[in-house]
Every structure is written in structure tokens, then in C-alpha cells.
Symmetry: C2
């Protein structure tokens, strides 16, 4: 006993002693009625205070694990430790179609492993060096001072009220008509989309979206059993004539669209195209799920209203977004703005599935936004990312032989190589040279895009961006020739 | 313009001015090429600094909403505000079976509304007056100092590693064999259960559980389309002979069990019964989902190992729990401990649906647990709740004519009234007298329990507990006679 007792720093010693003894007892290593060392003995042999031992013993007694006999010491109580016949379940055989698909489409499990020292263009997460930790702490302390007990107790399924009010105003400022609309706060964009997918009746079983598109969304569409029709992307947004012909041909339950900094192509849909798209979807009565992904990251240029604003007083657009992707992804807070009749049902789904989103996350985010820290942060972020963007664009054009590059800003670029180059093969070669990127093909609704790749540059240093892109270019030239 | 411009305290004025003007522009209230007031003019008329106006105008220009002409001033840019023909979707018609069921079973939407000044026995949430806000802040600041940037960035779908390690050790101390086991962190218990339900193949389409049982779990079982067989509860746990006969009759995908402080009956299953149950479920090869609900709240008595400990090296128990219900429900953190092959799939489901649980919540909770604050808190909570429990028990026995009362501790009691009393009718009468409680019937797998009720006392003051229970008793005597 006690030869494997090691103390962890920073954790009260009496708890560690108690847990050690509790484990010995529940595992059957200490027997019923076995005498424990006296408190004096133990305090000396472990070089801890006697009070610590006394507290640990008192807690063990309170938990029904030991008993004291006056003048005799402490003894182990009878504790049920007998195990029932152990049975082995083959869990893999018990998995649902959806779980097997989730595993199968899990890029984190089946992608090329990133090793240390590698230059990875995989991520489009924010650069943690930009994080405004001090103001975040300030926002936390401010909010806790205002209503710490409310922040820590159960909240509402729909979300934290001050944040909902803030976001309604925020959307109104973007030009969205918020009359008869409401907001549901979710654990990030992804949960919002999943709740929408679970709540909508699969009448036609078919979705229309840009091709390529966000792979997490594609994964969810597939897990929910939808057929997916993709529309090719032109430099100013989707191909309108292809959209029109698909709308004539098929019936869709809804359209999923990312009008700004489209993932993965980085394309920003023009105002003219937004209008045309909206007219077409209205004409064919197809509701829209708009992904507001990173639209806050616009470096410059004309103002662009979200599709939800184009819809005016109509209720056919479900707008989903989150600040996570540019602010703090560790906080899982997203939102769905939609017709209040729809939110009414989504709220019940949310309550059934996760009760509500962390009030702590919502409350601190609210305070951070309210106090104006977000405005300051986004200015800094824009200027840092803009530099990286320009460098990535220049380097790509200079070093990578390609057919087409897209990306009007944001945190990533999308490159179409010559058709004959297999990007997966290229990735393996580049990975040996210490550079990895995302396969464009993973974002396609069909089997296309095998010669495409996405370069996320947000978390890389400037020299990593240029040398990484240079290495990709060199690898292409080495293996495929091609100074096209 | 500006007559409806009102300043909010605590939010930077330049942001408020910018948002005001942006909304005027995106809504079409300011017209293309319209001249804005000069910065000097505006600063005087709004009594704000000229710098504030300059910053707001600069931001608007950067966002492409206005343009400056040297020597002439600032003008509104052309902004697309034209709305497309508005279409009206009937969202209610588009709802899935699951969403309709979620709404239909949503007790928050269809329960008796609690008014102010009412004594509500509905809640079994912790008493916010007990919250240890100061140590929570300390834990936050400690963790942020250690790795603030990691806390704020993307984490792992499986969960925050230090918390996973902590919980594995925590479960081991309870006597659970953690070899070949793993943990998934979820947004509270509810998400854990929902992910399990989505991941398991519905082979037999049938679940077995205690009757009554936790209504959030029942709701999810129904939403996932399961048939549910309930087993009657005796004072020391479920009716073993009924269990045996059901196991002989039907095949089950899994059993859902709450062995400690069972919700809603408050019954703690005895060690003997735990063993017998485990033997039976093993014999019939039925895996178990164990709900560790509030097992930390044991006021006294013998140690009781979770079913997961009885399983020994077997892998047939999926243990789910959370500290939310006694610590901070606003933090949505729960966990699933199970065979690592199963966790492997649950992890992919979690990633597909919500990416991961808030790292902030997990990290602060970890630090709070690690630093020993939880141990201190739970001692205080136990002593406060124990008093309330004893008072509620004594008062109920004294004032309420009843057939049976159960509840071995925890935060609630369960009462069976005379069969002829309809608890819903009683609730309406009590509500008029300013007292509400939870209908037992909502917790039943079948149509039973119409004469039962649950009294949650955790958030009530002592005088509210006794006077509330007295009023329920009086109402029964008034309307149903009955000094049984």
C-alpha cells in the first residue's frame, strides 16, 4: 500500500489520499475489516499533515467506505465489489447506418495525418496568436459581476435572451427584416444545420447547393439521407443557367447556399447574382438555408447584403451563422434566424436534444460583443488576414501551375490544377516534403474536383505561406512537368 | 434622421452611431448619393465627440456603405436594397414527425405556467444561492492563464484531454474497470443519450427501463421511434420478477437505468438488486445505458458502486452522466464512458453534429474539479439539500394523505396519492392556490401514474417547502376528503 501513491501538484492532498484509498477499496485491494494505518502513522510515512489524513478518513467514513472504532482505529467497511459475469458486446455490429456514415465521412479520421513541423494548409480556423484573451477575460468578469448566478444556472432552449436581442439587432443592421422572425442559439453552425435537417420533413429527399460546398454540411446531408444536386461555381457565384435547368427538372426540399467567402472556393456571390438566385428560388418555391460563414471577414469592397435581406418580408430564408470561425471556435455558439413559426419547432428539437447551449459561452460572447471588443478585434483580424491572403494569392499565382484560382478574401484559396493531376497523389508527394492541404474532392457533391485543392492560410506565418506554396509548386513541376 | 437615436450604456458610441447609419442605409431610408451631416455638425447635434463621428464614418466607408468627396463631405453609396418578391412558406406543414413529436412532448410548452410568487416544486435544478461563483471565477482565471489560447480555439470532438483524463480517473475511483474504455464529452447528459440513440442500430426497436423514468429520456426514446417497456419500481429498485418475465418475452436493444436517486421516484437501487439486475441483463445479452444522475448527492449510508463497476471487465454498460445537475447546469458538460470501440463511433457522430463541446466550459470545469473546489462545494450542497430533503419528507408525511412516498435523498420526492385522485386536476386546483408540482404521469412509459406527483425542493426556501406542501395537503383534503 502507498508505494504507488504520487502527489499531483495543485490538487488538495486530502482529496488525492481519499481517492487513492477509495480506489483500493472499490477495487477490492483492501479487504473488509482490514485496519487502515493510524492517522499519525500515515502522516509521518507520507510526509503530509495529520489534519489532511483526518479529513480524508472523515470523508471516507461519510461515503460509507470505512468505519471507526473508538480507541482502535479505522477499518474498511463491507463494500460490494463482486463483478457479474463479464459479457462482451460487439459494438461495431450494433452501429446504425448513420453512425457508420459519420465515421466513414470523418475527415479527421481518414485524412492525411499532419505531423509536427509540417506546413499545414488544412486549417481555416483563426490564428490563436490573434486571440484577444485579455478582453475576453474582462468580458467574463463583467458578465459574472452582473449575473454570475444566472450564467451558471439552467437557461432557455432558445438561447440567452440578451444575446438573442443583440443578434436580432445585428441582423437588422445588415438589412434583414426581423418582423415575424426569431432566433435560436445553437452549439455552433453545425448543430443549427443538424437541427434544421432533423426538423424538416423529407418530402422530395433532394437538396440543391453550390458544387463544391462545405464538407461538414455535405456530411450532414448524406447522414440525413438526402440526394444532393450541385451547381457549378462561376467567379461571381453559381451558374444561373444550370440552376434554372435543375429547378425545372427536380423538386427540392431546400437550397443550401454560402454567398460570401464560399467554402471551399472563396467566391463572393455578386449582388446581381444574389438577386437573380433569389428570384429563381422564389419562383420555384424552394426555401433557402443561407450559411453566413465568415461574411464578417470582408476586407474591402462594396457592401453585400445577405440573402436573408433580399428576402425582405418573405420567410423563405433560414439564416445560420456563428462568430466561432473568426473569433473563438472553442466557444460553441451559433445562431439560426428564421420565421418564428419555424423557430418554435426548432426550439423544441433543441430542448429535446441538448436542453440549451452553454449559458456561460453565450453570456461571455454577448458581453464581448456588447462592449465593442469584437469590432476592435475584427479590424485587427481583417488587416492580418488580408496580408496573408495577398501573399497566398501572389505566391500561388507565381509558383503553382494551375487552370484557375478563386478566393476573394477570407481565410482560404481554391485551386484547380490541370485535369490530369490527381490531387490525392499530389498530397502524398507534398506530405513527404512536409506540406499538406485539403483535397478539393472532399467538398464535391459528386465525384468531381479530383484535380482541386483548398489552401487555408489563416494559421500560418507569412514565411510558411510562401515556402509552403513554393514547395507545392515545385512538387507539381517535378512530377507532372507542366509550365502550362 | 437621428430623432430615434438612443444611446445604450456601456457600448462604444461609435459602434452605435455606425450601426444606426448602416441600418438606415441597408433599409433604404437613406438614398444613394444622399449627403450625410458633416462630422462637426453631427458631433454637436448628438453631443458626442467629433472623433467618434470620424471613426463611425471611416468604418462605414471601409464597409462600402458611404464614400467621401474631398472638401464636400460624406455620401451614401449605391447599396442593393431591392427586395425580391416575398414568398410565404408554411413551415408548420414542413415539419418532420420528429419535430412534431419534440414539440408535442415539450413539457416547457405544455406544462402549467409558473407565475411569479408561486411556490414551484417543478424544478430539480440546483439552488443558485449555493453557487460558488468566486471559486468558479478563480478556476476560469487559472485556466486562462495556463492556456487561454487553447481554450478559445477548436478542440477535439472527443473532448478536452485533461477533463477526459480526470473523468477516467474519477470513474476508476468509483470502482469502474477503465481498461479498454474511453470517454466522450457531450453537451450535457441529454446530448450523450441522443448520440447513443442515433448511433445504435434499431434492431429490435424496443427498450426496457424503470417505470416511471426520466421524461427527457422517454422523449428521446419516442422521438427515435422505440417501443418502451417499463418495469415497476419497488422501494429498493425495480421489480426483478417483472424484469425477468419481460426479458423472457421480448428482445431489447438496450436497457436504460437510473440506479441512484432515480428520477422521478428518488429510489436508490440496493447493492443486492444491482447485482441481480446485472446478472439478468448479462444472461439475456441486453446492453445497459446507465444514467449516473446525481449519484454524487448521497447524503449518507453505505457505498454503492455504479452498474458500470459491477460489469467488471465486461463492456456491456454505457455510463452517462454530468455534474450539471448539482454543480452548474449553465455549463453544458456531460460524459459517456463506454467501450472504446463504441466511443470511436460516437466521436464521429459528435463531430458530424456539433464539432465538439465548448472548450471553455470543459476547461473551466476541469480546473474547478482539479483544484478541489467541487469537493468543498458538494459537502456544502449535501448539508443544505439534506435539510431540505428531511423537511420535505416530514412535511409530506404529515400533511399529504397518500398511499406511498419514495425518495432516499437527492433533490426530489415522489408521491402516490389515492388512485381516485387525478393529479392533473389537483395541479390545477393547487395552481390557483399558488403551488405547482410535476405530474408523475409525464414520467410513465404507459398511461399509468395519473395519481402521482414529483416534488422537487432544491430551489425552495425551507418555509416555502413546508407551507407549499401544507397547501397541497389542504387542497387534497378539501376536494377529495381523505384522511386515509
Amino acid at each position: 500500500m502507498f508505494n504507488d501513491f504520487k502527489l499531483n501538484q495543485g490538487r488538495p492532498v486530502y482529496i488525492q489520499l481519499k481517492e487513492y484509498l477509495k480506489r483500493m477499496i472499490t477495487n477490492g485491494h483492501l479487504l473488509e475489516n482490514q485496519k487502515l494505518p493510524s492517522t499519525r502513522e500515515l502522516s509521518v510515512s507520507l510526509a503530509i499533515s495529520r489534519n489532511t489524513v483526518l479529513t480524508a478518513y472523515a470523508d471516507l467514513e461519510q461515503e460509507g467506505l470505512i468505519y471507526a472504532v473508538k480507541g482502535k482505529g479505522n477499518f474498511v467497511k463491507s463494500v460490494e465489489t463482486s463483478k457479474t459475469p463479464s459479457i462482451e458486446v460487439n459494438w461495431q455490429e450494433k452501429m446504425s447506418e448513420q453512425a457508420l456514415l459519420a465515421e466513414n465521412l470523418d475527415l479527421m479520421k481518414h485524412g492525411v495525418r499532419r505531423r509536427n513541423q509540417m506546413i499545414s494548409f488544412n486549417s481555416i480556423a483563426p490564428d490563436e496568436k490573434l486571440f484577444d484573451v485579455e478582453n475576453f477575460k474582462r468580458a467574463f468578469l463583467n458578465r459574472m459581476a452582473i449575473e454570475g448566478d444566472i450564467v451558471l444556472n439552467y437557461g432557455y432552449a432558445k438561447g440567452y435572451k440578451p444575446l438573442i436581442e443583440y443578434l436580432l439587432h445585428y441582423m437588422e443592421v445588415k438589412g434583414v427584416d426581423i418582423k415575424e422572425k426569431d432566433i435560436l442559439i445553437t452549439n455552433g453552425f453545425t448543430e443549427g444545420l443538424d437541427i434544421i435537417l432533423s426538423s424538416l420533413n423529407k418530402k422530395n429527399g433532394r437538396i440543391i447547393c453550390e458544387n463544391p460546398t462545405h464538407h461538414s454540411a455535405l456530411k450532414l446531408f448524406r447522414m440525413h439521407g438526402y440526394e444532393i444536386d450541385g451547381i457549378d461555381m462561376e467567379d461571381d457565384g453559381l451558374d444561373i443557367s444550370m440552376l434554372q435547368s435543375l429547378l425545372t427538372k427536380n423538386k427540392y426540399d431546400f437550397a443550401y447556399l454560402i454567398p460570401s467567402y464560399h467554402n471551399p472556393t472563396g467566391i463572393v456571390t455578386s449582388s446581381e447574382k444574389r438577386k437573380k438566385m433569389m428570384e429563381l428560388f422564389s419562383a420555384y418555391q424552394v426555401p433557402i438555408v443561407e450559411d453566413g460563414f465568415n461574411e464578417e471577414l470582408r476586407y474591402s469592397g462594396a457592401h453585400l447584403a445577405p440573402l436573408a435581406a433580399f428576402a425582405g418580408s418573405g420567410n423563405n430564408v433560414i439564416y445560420t451563422s456563428s462568430f466561432s470561425k473568426i473569433l473563438f471556435p472553442g466557444l460553441r455558439v451559433g445562431w439560426v434566424l428564421a420565421d418564428k413559426d419555424l423557430i418554435y419547432y426548432l426550439e423544441s428539437m433543441k430542448r429535446a436534444r441538448t436542453i440549451h447551449t452553454s449559458t456561460l459561452d453565450q453570456a461571455v460572447l454577448y458581453q464581448y460583443l456588447h462592449d465593442g471588443y469584437f469590432e476592435k478585434y475584427i479590424k485587427k483580424a481583417r488587416s492580418v488576414y488580408k496580408k496573408k491572403y495577398e501573399l497566398a494569392l501572389t505566391s500561388s499565382k507565381r509558383y503553382i501551375p494551375m487552370k484557375r484560382i478563386t478566393g476573394d478574401g477570407g481565410l482560404h484559396l481554391f485551386i484547380e490544377l490541370d485535369d490530369k493531376i490527381d490531387a490525392r497523389e499530389l498530397l502524398n508527394k507534398c506530405s513527404q516534403k512536409g506540406v499538406v492541404f485539403s483535397l478539393g474532392n472532399d467538398f464535391y457533391t459528386d465525384d468531381n474536383g479530383k484535380h482541386t485543392l483548398r489552401l487555408g492560410f489563416s494559421r500560418l506565418k507569412e514565411d510558411e505561406i510562401s515556402s509552403g506554396i513554393m514547395r507545392i509548386g515545385q512538387t507539381i513541376k517535378e512530377h507532372y512537368g507542366g509550365e502550362r
